[in-house]
């Protein structure tokens, strides 16, 4: 079983309470089962045969996780409770126990991949489904690139495997990743730039783990824009909400903060602490389609922590988080690209 690779997480998390204050879903649903302790304990029961992985309640519990990585980051030994949860999902799928709704979601991701590449240049900008849905993020990036006088290509059209991986469809995720890698290779690009941190994580971590080596360098837009060393300033007071993928999955990628500093923004601490995830479930990628009510609760949790919800200027790295906060709260949210483009 896939979970056998995570025995250390099972054995250490199963009776541990030390990161429960960071359990995103636990904090909004007030449930005991939405914590690394109970999930690991359930999975320990699975390894002993006491609990069955085809139990619908156990499956539902495992698919509710927001996969923020905040607990793993807080953990002194960084036990990989995220890897464990993903492995359990893969076992559920492999044993044919995926709920019909999850199967349908996976099917829809497999069917929609139709890659289109436009433009020309050595930079390939990946417009993933969430970036596309905002309707504004890619435009902001275009404005920056025009001002910087850099021509670039865009690629869009589907899932590069991240969504499928979070659902537990590993072979299908690998196939999607390979397909995308071929598109990148064909484009001849030297640099792939992505706005969505989920895509960034897929390209820098998931792809190599699958043995896929991209010829191009992968950069998050914050890294790329920073590398352009443009002179624009936007010296406003902002609240930057960390991205799960950039902070918790990628060792605190410094670029978003460096970019804010470079444009002269005054970043104020949001909420009461810098440990919780304020992303609406970015790590789970598809949570809105698994249980939208959870995303709504996560969004409201964030709104309740704003100093002045109607006037605060919230910045995010993730188009996903922008979309969800826009949908469920009245907060004013921009992505980093939009914030920089605004100053042009």
């Amino acid at each position: 079983m896939h979970i056998d690779k995570y025995t250390d997480a099972i054995l250490n998390c199963r009776f541990c309470f030390m990161c429960r204050h960071l359990s995103g879903i636990g904090n909004v649903a007030f449930t005991e089962s939405d914590t690394p302790r109970v999930r690991a304990s359930l999975l320990y029961g699975v390894t002993t045969g006491r609990i069955q992985l085809d139990n619908p309640d156990v499956i539902a519990c495992l698919y509710r996780h927001d996969l923020s990585g905040a607990c793993r980051r807080n953990c002194v030994k960084h036990f990989d409770e995220i890897g464990l949860n993903l492995a359990a999902r893969a076992d559920i799928v492999a044993s044919g126990c995926a709920p019909a709704s999850i199967q349908a979601l996976a099917d829809s991701l497999m069917q929609t991949a139709r890659w289109t590449v436009d433009g020309s240049g050595e930079v390939l900008y990946f417009v993933d489904l969430y970036t596309q849905e905002t309707g504004t993020v890619a435009a902001a990036f275009a404005k920056i690139m025009a001002k910087a006088k850099v021509s670039y290509q865009t690629v869009s059209g589907g899932c590069i495997g991240k969504g499928l991986k979070t659902l537990g469809y590993l072979p299908e995720a690998a196939a999607a990743a390979k397909q995308f890698a071929a598109v990148v290779e064909k484009s001849g690009a030297k640099t792939v730039v992505v706005s969505n941190p989920a895509a960034y994580d897929a390209l820098v971590n998931d792809f190599p783990a699958l043995g896929i080596k991209l010829a191009a360098t992968v950069m998050h837009t914050s890294e790329y824009i920073l590398s352009l060393a443009l002179p624009w300033q936007n010296p406003q007071e902002v609240y930057y909400l960390e991205s799960d993928f950039l902070r918790n999955y990628n060792s605190d990628l410094p670029a978003p903060h460096s970019l804010l500093q470079a444009v002269g923004a005054k970043n104020r601490p949001f909420g009461t602490n810098d440990e919780e995830s304020y992303t609406c479930g970015e790590g789970a990628v598809l949570l809105p389609r698994i249980d939208a009510s959870l995303v709504e609760k996560l969004a409201q949790y964030i709104e309740a922590r704003a100093d002045a919800p109607s006037t605060d200027r919230i910045l995010v790295a993730s188009p996903y988080t922008k979309l969800m906060l826009g949908k469920y709260t009245s907060l004013h949210v921009q992505t980093l690209e939009e914030f920089v483009a605004e100053a042009i």
Partner: protein, 484 residues
């Protein structure tokens, strides 16, 4: 629970509960019921580790306010259903376990910070708030509750009040019972009451303290008003190694007798200094007993107190000074001891034998417990530190540890061995002037020793329980009170 979950009556009760708290907050999922079947008590953890079934609740309810709590309690009285309050489940005594099934009243939805009173320096909150969340919110306003236990991340304010919990700064700021001004409580018959608004008065016995430490057996704490403190301008620590535990204890006691006001003192016996302090700090330490203490408040006063404390440590007791770095390391790593990798864990068998006694007795208590454990269970290790210090004495946080090969494979035999250690060690503590517990509470783990501790006073407690809870629905079978 008196009705089977297959019966229509179960569904009738579920409907009534749904009517009170809403369907979303009446949970009967296997995963959540399972989550409430294990707390931080070694026995249920071991039971699960061995593949055994742990007792589940019939319903898990998450009320939003005292009114909903009251209605659920009235319903439970009507049908005689046990109700067990659950905060964070981090209690180590089995206090929150649904040993007779029934309703788990999970308090975490009651997580609101109601008011910060900047004039009186108090904070009023619902009881289900996780202590870290409360602390963060207070910090944002420039204050602190100064309640900083190792379980701050997981335990609720109600849970701490119910167990008389304590944090690392207890020596100056007190245990939770010293921090609380007043409570809102739903009694076992469903009345919503408030204790007096202030803790210092001469208006009869103190109801706040009656409910503090009652572990959910006398009612459900729904709201609390606690003291707040401004964040101190300075907080300084210093650590010493003493040649042996006795000298370190004498130095610590002297510091308390001097009436200087340390915010924390912690003393590790020689064994724990080697096995734990060195490991967590990743630091070479000389043989002996490690003692750390600190002061906080105004910078000049902190420095002045530190100066006098150093004189006691160095001039009178010849402590080897590890400097402020040796002390800061402890402060920075204060919670690290409790993370997996540093903490004991199954399949080891381990328990925290915490007790408290006056200075004239505390060493005798330590040796009595240590001797009884090491002589009767030569395969066990015994380590101890002294975490919470008062003007008159201090608390012993002793631990026994069995390595996996020394723990019986049969879970029933493992329980028997475990309980033999507890009984012998706690009886040794009582015989030498200690009590059965200092800040973890009683639960099911120590309930059977309550009669021995209280003697003829136990019927007083039992009388209070009977009067308040005529149907015995509130957390039955805990704290030495009778089961269903």
């Amino acid at each position: 629970m008196l009705v089977s979950s297959n019966s229509y009556m179960y569904e009738m009760i579920r409907s009534e509960l749904t009517d009170i708290v809403g369907s979303e907050f009446v949970c009967t999922h296997e995963a959540d019921k399972f989550g409430h079947s294990i707390d931080y008590y070694w026995i249920p953890e071991m039971w699960h580790d061995r593949g055994m079934e742990t007792p589940r609740p019939d319903f898990v309810i998450s009320p939003a306010n005292a009114q909903e709590v009251s209605k659920v309690i009235k319903l439970a009285n009507h049908y005689h259903i046990p109700v067990v309050p659950w905060g964070g489940g981090s209690g180590s005594q089995g206090g929150a376990l649904p040993i007779f099934g029934g309703i788990i009243m999970d308090m975490k939805r009651m997580n609101k910070l109601i008011r910060i009173d900047r004039e009186s320096l108090t904070v009023t909150c619902q009881a289900g708030i996780i202590a870290q969340h409360l602390e963060w919110s207070c910090n944002k306003e420039g204050f602190s509750t100064m309640h900083l236990p190792a379980s701050i991340s997981c335990a609720t304010i109600g849970g701490f009040l119910a167990h008389r919990g304590t944090g690392v700064l207890s020596t100056k700021y007190g245990k939770i019972e010293d921090m609380v001004l007043s409570l809102e409580v739903v009694t076992p018959t469903g009345e919503i009451i408030r204790t007096l608004p202030v803790p210092r008065h001469a208006s009869g016995p103190d109801l706040t303290l009656l409910f503090t430490g009652s572990e959910g057996t006398l009612g459900i704490i729904t709201e609390a008003t606690l003291k707040l403190h401004p964040q101190p301008e300075a907080r300084e620590f210093r650590a010493y190694i003493f040649k042996d535990f006795h000298t370190a204890m004498s130095a610590g006691a002297e510091l308390m007798r001097s009436r200087l006001q340390p915010c924390a003192i912690r003393l590790y016996d020689e064994t724990e200094t080697i096995t734990h302090v060195r490991k967590v700090f990743n630091m070479e330490l000389a043989q002996g007993s490690y003692l750390v203490f600190g002061f906080d408040g105004r910078k000049d006063i902190t420095a002045c107190q530190m100066k006098y404390a150093r004189e006691i440590m160095e001039d009178k007791y010849q402590g080897q000074d590890l400097g402020s770095k040796g002390g800061d390391l402890w402060w920075e790593n204060k919670y690290k001891f409790f993370y997996p990798g540093f903490m004991f864990h199954l399949p080891q068998a381990f328990g925290t034998l915490d007790t408290v006694a006056t200075f004239d007795k505390i060493e005798a208590v330590y040796w009595a417990m240590k001797n009884v454990v090491t002589e009767n269970f030569p395969q066990a290790r015994f380590i101890g530190h002294f975490s919470h210090w008062y003007e008159w004495g201090c608390m012993l946080y002793a631990r026994f540890i069995f390595e996996p090969q020394d723990v019986p494979k049969d879970p029933r035999e493992a329980v028997a061995l475990y309980n033999r250690v507890w009984n012998m060690a706690i009886r040794a503590a009582i015989a030498n002037g200690g009590v059965i517990n200092e800040h973890h509470g009683v639960g099911i783990k120590l309930g059977h020793l309550m009669k021995e501790l209280y003697g003829p006073a136990m019927p007083v407690l039992e009388g209070i329980k009977k009067q308040l809870d005529p149907n015995n629905i509130m957390n039955p079978g805990k704290m030495g009170f009778k089961g269903v």
